[in-house]
């Protein structure tokens, strides 16, 4: 096998018998049931399905933002639920980038400060230069000192893309990244995301309703009632 083939065969994300149940008063609700999933490095995967099918819960569990009732998740070979909450946070800081439907920028920070934040949290020197370079890359070189409220939705999502990529993560997790954007803006964001993905060899894992977006991915996982159906 070539090197590339080895890399692809390596499962950068692996979920094993992942189940999530919540108590709703008297009965127990199963949100995810027995999910098994393997993602190769460099793949781009769209998780699709109706509202309430468990897409976002799966994404949250894969990122270690929540804990499952049972099962395992391995990120880059590490069983993340053997780690405590803080160790998972450190792992996220090392491996993951995030994008959200509602952008989740800090309103008190300017565009560049929002992008600098993950670097600052990791204690990286020279955060400003990397952040500025990336903002210029996503076309916001003129908007560095603007606050989120002074930016349009598309611009805010570009800041979020820059923030997601600035730590050079191995994986990018995105939750409905075009959900709050109009069609044309959404298309631009998709384009940008995949360009960066290509440039940096990032693994993409995204939850979406957007056909155009899911069509761009190398694999599509469909969910219904907490299970992978296809």
């Amino acid at each position: 096998m070539t090197n590339r083939a080895v890399q692809q065969a390596y499962h950068i994300v692996r979920a094993n018998a992942l189940t999530k149940q919540v108590n709703t008063g008297d009965n127990q609700l199963t949100i995810l049931q027995d999910i098994n999933l393997e993602v190769n490095a460099g793949e781009s995967i769209a998780i699709v399905g109706a509202s309430g099918s468990g897409k976002s819960t799966l994404l949250g569990l894969l990122a270690g933002l929540d804990v499952p009732t049972s099962g395992h998740v391995y990120l880059d070979g590490e069983d993340i639920f053997l780690l405590d909450e803080d160790e998972r946070a450190a792992l996220r800081s090392r491996l993951l980038g995030f994008m959200f439907q509602s952008f989740q920028l800090l309103p008190a920070l300017t565009a560049i400060e929002n992008v600098m934040l993950p670097l600052e949290l990791a204690g990286v020197n020279d955060a400003r230069r990397s952040a500025q370079a990336l903002l210029e890359r996503v076309g916001l070189g003129m908007r560095l000192k603007h606050y989120p409220r002074q930016l349009s939705g598309g611009e805010q999502q570009r800041v979020a893309i820059a923030r997601a990529f600035v730590t050079q993560p191995k994986m990018l997790f995105a939750d409905e990244p075009t959900g709050n954007l109009d069609f044309a803006t959404g298309a631009q964001i998709i384009e940008l995301m995949f360009e960066l993905n290509r440039e940096r060899g990032t693994t993409l894992l995204l939850v979406t309703h957007d056909e155009a977006l899911s069509n761009r991915c190398s694999r599509r996982i469909r969910m219904a009632s907490g299970r992978i159906v296809d």
Partner: protein, 835 residues
């Protein structure tokens, strides 16, 4: 390290985004209020300790109310100490038709041993700061040096003559600075310095005169210490030692009390500011929940988040408290000026201690209210980035506020300097808040009953108040407390003091005559008869020191309570009477009847009895001119001092004291048209002391006015803090208001209609503030009138009118200004954003 840098950067960003204004303002107000009082008190303390040997005019003083035995001076000579003597007593001085009561200070050569006298030969009206020079020696025989008050009061210039007792003396100079004068509360009288050699000629010192004898000592430190320890064993009752450390104990204790009171007043603003801090911290945390979740998502650990925000708050606290200290430093200058007449000195610069105190208080306040929510903040789950409803940590938890209240209580105890007082003030405060809260709740319920009446704006305003009942009550109470304090102080300065003055019936005695000798009774009666004046009631008295209670010698130790110490250190005036005076009332025991078997009985005023610790049936022993007199307490009396008649703490059954050296005292009413009679009286009887009650009352009133101005100044901080609470509350509801405005305007409401609805809301809130403030002021005014000034309180409607008007107008204007920016967003922008 990088965390503290990051935290600093975030602080800067939050500041820029306007997230921290309220916190900073609230902390600044709280700290500046504390430091204003702190700096001022510190300056006076420093003045006292730095100038204390100049204050004494010596290194050590032996003070007695009878001539000091020679062995003190002998011992001083043996130890090669410098000595001088000072004899001081009050006396009338006069020049032609002008008379003035002055403190006469007769000094021996060498005075003062420490510090200096500064003199001016002239004080022409055009020169406000006379050119002064250091004095050489003391006034030569036949001359006196006087101070500015005496010069103005007698209208006398250097070179002219004045009468002191039986002699005429020439004024040689004006004293502009004298030891024992630089710091002092209530320096009532003018002063006159004379040569001790002239004292006998004045004929002023007679049995029963109130004279203080001082031996001044100065020299090497060890010898002074040796003298001190020797003298300690020689002291008899009526004598005491005063050194540099214990200079002016009465000033120190008065200052301590004033400081304590002002500090507690300052705490009112701290409490109100605490409400603003609590509100602001809550908002801060709420607005940072998402940010924390994102940071958790981006890999920040719990401890990173906690440390980040701890640094953040610590820096913020230090900066805001530091600014508060600066503001306090500026403000205390005003306070010193306000109290200028009471503290007679140029004060040294304060030390850094009050600033440290202020910084610590600011940090305690901030961390007290922010630590519990911060500890919660770090637990925000990262999942919140996907599900906004997850991880709403309990922000309103009672535990969080309990911690803040605990911190606040500690501040109270610290400021009060004692556990009991601190806890009592704190409880009193909580009780007031509880009563206000209940009152406010009732008023809101009543208003809601009338909800159907009135215009739309009124209904919406009321609906808003109801929706935010607790927040509205907190705001109204915070502002109400500040306004109440202002109203009470204005009330005291104006109406209550006026009431006190006018509550005295006409013909209330306005002059006291003291020091009347038995051989003057006849001629004094003739003097009054010749001028068609009613013969005054003359009360006999002898002076005696309390030396034993139930045959146990009275001991005064360092920890004896100040008032008790003062009472025991001086001589009591003992009088006797067959009948109980009309303004006296027996509260325990019984007054002697003529048919009772003759016994040594006495009656004592109840408060004095309590202070010195005697009760009915106790035997007390007085030293009167060297011989002992004992009697049993058979009654306790309550005295109405406001009649301005002569009254005595101790009255003895007749037939027991007549053999001792007696002098007489009386009070009478002198119509304003006949003040000329006083000049003749003083000329004919130079040894008599005339006390002008009106002048004393005026002095007291001036002082109360000054002190209440100072307190009012401190309460300005409380009112400011109240407005910050209002601002904080408005900011806390801002998002809600922006949304409300967007909906209203989308539905077709005009800007004006919206403003009217909010104006109605703020007017109702302001009305509540006014009601709280007026009700509180009325109750407090009543209490002060009854218990402090002893006048019947007349209801003053203006308090209510002013309180409610100020409340409604002030809060409406402030509220509308605070919500102004909410109206500037176009509705579409808001709706899209909230979307």
């Amino acid at each position: 390290m990088y965390l503290s840098r990051l935290s600093l950067r975030m602080l800067r960003r939050d500041w820029r985004a306007g997230e921290l204004r309220i916190l900073v303002l609230a902390l600044m107000i709280a700290v500046s209020s504390i430091t204003t009082v702190g700096f001022f008190a510190d300056r006076v303390q420093l003045a006292l300790s730095r100038e204390s040997n100049r204050l004494l005019g010596a290194d050590l003083l032996i003070i007695g109310d009878r001539p000091l035995p020679a062995h003190y001076a002998d011992k001083a000579e043996q130890l090669e100490l410098m000595t001088a003597t000072l004899i001081k007593f009050p006396s009338m001085t006069s020049k032609e038709e002008n008379n003035l009561l002055a403190e006469i200070r007769a000094v021996s050569p060498g005075y003062p041993l420490r510090g200096e006298l500064r003199l001016a030969d002239d004080a022409s009206e055009t020169i406000t700061e006379p050119v002064t020079r250091g004095a050489q020696g003391i006034p030569s025989p036949g001359t006196v040096w006087i101070d500015e008050k005496l010069m103005a009061g007698l209208d006398i210039m250097p070179g002219e003559e004045l009468a002191v007792g039986a002699t005429q003396m020439t004024v040689a100079a004006l004293v502009t600075r004298e030891p024992d004068y630089s710091v002092g509360f209530i320096n009532l009288g003018p002063r006159l310095l004379m040569n001790a050699a002239d004292l006998a000629a004045t004929d002023l010192i007679q049995p029963g005169s109130r004279v203080t004898y001082q031996l001044l000592l100065a020299g090497e430190e060890e010898r002074i210490a040796e003298f001190r320890s020797w003298a300690q064993t020689q002291l008899v009752p009526g004598q005491r030692i005063e050194g540099i450390r214990d200079a002016r104990p009465e000033i120190r204790s008065a200052l301590e009390r004033a400081e304590k009171f002002l500090s507690l007043a300052a705490l009112a603003s701290v409490v109100v500011a605490a409400a603003a801090v609590a509100l602001a911290v809550r908002r801060f945390i709420q607005r940072h929940l998402d940010g924390c979740a994102i940071m958790r998502c981006l890999g920040a650990s719990q401890s990173t988040i906690l440390r980040l925000y701890l640094y953040h708050f610590a820096t913020l606290g230090l900066l805001a408290s530091g600014l508060g200290c600066l503001l306090g430093f500026v403000a205390q200058e005003f306070l010193s000026r306000w109290l200028a007449g009471i503290v007679e000195t140029s004060l040294p610069l304060p030390s850094g201690l009050p600033a440290v105190h202020g910084l610590l208080s600011g940090m305690v306040l901030l961390l007290g209210f922010s630590l519990p929510p911060l500890l919660n903040l770090r637990r925000v789950p990262a999942l919140r980035v996907l599900r906004r409803d997850s991880g709403m940590t309990n922000l309103h938890g009672l535990a969080g506020y309990a911690f803040g209240l605990l911190a606040l209580s500690l501040l109270f105890i610290w400021e009060a300097g004692e556990l009991r007082l601190g806890v009592m003030v704190m409880l009193g405060f909580l009780a007031a808040v509880a009563v206000f809260a209940l009152l406010g709740w009732v008023v809101i319920k009543l208003l809601l009953l009338m909800r159907q009446q009135g215009a739309n704006a009124w209904r919406y305003g009321l609906a808003n108040i109801r929706r935010r009942t607790i927040a509205s009550l907190v705001q109204a109470i915070a502002l109400g407390l500040g306004l109440m304090a202002m109203l009470v102080l204005t009330l005291i300065q104006g109406d209550l003091l006026k009431d006190w003055r006018t509550s005295l019936p006409p013909n209330t005695p306005n002059r006291f005559l003291i020091n009347i000798q038995p051989d003057q009774l006849q001629s004094l009666a003739e003097f009054f008869a010749q001028r068609d004046m009613r013969q005054p009631d003359l009360n006999p008295m002898v002076r005696g020191r309390l030396v034993a209670i139930n045959e146990q010698p009275v001991r005064i130790s360092d920890d004896t309570e100040t008032r008790k110490k003062q009472l025991l250190n001086r001589e009591f005036n003992l009088s006797w009477a067959d009948e109980l005076q009309a303004d006296n009332e027996i509260v325990a025991g019984r007054w002697w009847q003529s048919e009772d078997a003759l016994a040594n009985e006495l009656s004592i005023e109840e408060e004095i009895a309590e202070t010195i610790g005697v009760k009915l049936g106790d035997q007390v022993t007085f030293d009167i001119a060297g011989s002992l007199f004992s009697a049993t307490i058979t009654s306790l009396r309550k005295v109405d001092w406001d009649t301005f008649r002569v009254n005595f703490f101790v009255v003895v059954r007749p037939g027991q004291l007549e053999a001792y050296p007696i002098n007489y005292v009386t009070s009478f009413y002198l119509p304003p048209s006949q003040t000329g009679i006083m000049h003749e009286l003083v000329r004919n009887f130079p040894n008599l002391l005339v006390i002008d009650v009106a002048a004393v009352i005026e002095q007291v009133q001036k002082m109360i006015a000054q002190v209440s101005s100072a307190i009012e100044f401190v309460f300005v901080f409380t009112l400011l803090a109240g407005f910050i609470v209002l601002y904080a509350a408005i900011t806390a509801t801002q998002d809600e208001r922006i949304y409300e405005a967007a909906i209203f305007r989308t539905l077709g409401a005009k800007r004006r209609q919206l403003i009217r609805a909010w104006a109605a809301e703020f007017a109702i809130l302001g009305g509540l503030v006014g009601i709280f403030a007026s009700a509180g002021a009325t109750v407090l005014g009543h209490v002060i009138a009854k218990y402090a000034l002893h006048v019947s309180y007349t209801f003053t409607p203006w308090i209510w009118l002013a309180g409610i008007l100020i409340g409604v107008i002030g809060v409406t204007i402030a509220g509308l200004l605070g919500t102004r920016s909410t109206l500037t967003h176009p509705p579409l922008w808001t709706l899209r954003r909230i979307g």
